[in-house]
Amino acid sequence: MIKIRNLVKRFGKLEVLKDISFNVNQKEVVVVIGPSGSGKSTLLRCINLLETFQSGEIEVDGKTVHFTEKEINELRKNVGMVFQHFHLFPHKTVLENLTIAPMKVKNLDKNSANEKATALLKKVGLEDKMYVYPDSLSGGQKQRVAIARALAMEPKIMLFDEPTSALDPEMVGEVLEVMKQLAREGMTMVVVTHEMGFAKEVGDRVVFMDGGYIVEENNPKELFDAPQHKRTQDFLSKVL
């Protein structure tokens, strides 16, 4: 589903991603872990072109992406993104948060957009919050709405950028539960997270990044139980 070849990304002189290549297969859940500043969020943001990059190639769903406005919008229809800080639209109700993009981008009529949004809210357990504004929701509820909002576009791939890092500890579980359900349904997912439990339980593959490189990737059991590289061992000994 996603093929990344020799990706290089610089912010000014700082090289954040150094020659990254990796693939994500259909229905695969890839979990990206690593210390802060290792480039994992930047990598994720490159996949749906929220960041430009200096060289390399990204192929999504069989199409190499170029930086034209039209292609970028086309790509993003298929790639959902969930942010650390939710970024719900505060001036719209929960329901409107879910319906605006399908109505504006896919020209869905209001009734079918509402219908689909209602089903998605039911799925994340928030159908009773349909008509409230995001301000009145808890962090965990906000993130579940954000996931539902991305799903409303019926993406083929979902990207999660530290979806639980801004949450109070007691709310992490409800968000991870929704993500697990998505994984069970066969969604292709790339998840940047510090939740090692989630990586072990749900990840088909875990990628460890450090200093702009992919240091090591493996299935979760191998990577957590028998890390090959010193840097992976150091990192895991600190977080586990």
Binding site: L50, E69, N73, G80, M81, H85, H87, H91, I100, V105
Partner: protein, 218 residues
């Protein structure tokens, strides 16, 4: 001090008529100036340097020179190319509009830039175009924050319309000057004018407060 009420009552119909025109000139300038200001503000934020530069200098000119000078330049300099004879009322409205647009452009820019970058990213990541995001996501949120500074600008504009008197646009201040020069009296001519402006600005303040409250509720 003897206050000659008879002058006040003689000129009252003119004061009222002038106040009416002050309202008309100001409302037109506010309305067109706001629309123009939105586009100038967006142009000012354009990623294309040349476009941005043009609007920067539009704003520099209209903020950096006295509106008095602008009114004279427009009335005696620019308008004769467009109409003959030149209507002072039109000149004044044009000057107020162009001037207000510059200030409003900056208010728009500040409002739009105050919205969290994440809002743009979230909407774009859903496949919405830049224009759709601006229109449906960013501008509605920015507008709420722009009401107080827009209110200030509208009040300033209403008062600046009094400069129309120097090109004989028949607004409120014009009739104050007329009364003053007819009788050589100051208080009787300008106190009613001052009271008129005060009533207009207080009404505007009241309306803006109501608008702000309504936006805060939703």
């Amino acid at each position: 001090m003897d206050f000659r009420w008879d002058i006040v009552s003689e000129y009252m119909p003119y004061f009222l008529q002038g106040a009416g025109l002050t309202i008309v000139f100001s409302l037109v300038a506010i309305f067109i100036g706001t629309i123009l200001g939105l586009f100038i503000g967006l142009g000012r934020m354009s990623e294309k340097k040349i476009i941005s530069y043009i609007f920067v200098w539009y704003i520099n000119f209209f903020r950096g020179t006295p509106i008095f000078v602008q009114i004279l330049l427009i009335h005696f300099g620019a308008m004769p190319y467009f109409m003959n004879p030149v209507s002072p009322a039109v000149s004044l409205t044009v000057a107020l509009t162009l001037n207000a647009a510059a200030y409003i452009a900056e208010i728009f820019r500040a409002g739009i830039q105050s919205i969290d970058k994440g809002q743009m990213e979230a909407a774009r990541s859903l496949g919405m175009t830049k224009a759709q995001t601006m229109w449906h996501i960013i501008i509605p949120q920015a507008f709420k924050r722009m009401i107080p500074p827009l209110g200030n600008e509208f009040i300033a504009l209403l008062k600046e319309s009094s400069l129309g008197a120097v090109i004989a646009a028949p607004e409120l201040m014009y009739w104050g000057r007329a009364a003053s020069s007819a009788y050589y009296r100051t208080w009787e001519a300008y106190l009613p004018v001052a009271a008129g402006y005060l009533m207009l600005t207080l009404t505007l303040t009241y309306l803006l407060t109501k608008l702000e409250k309504r936006f805060n509720l939703s």
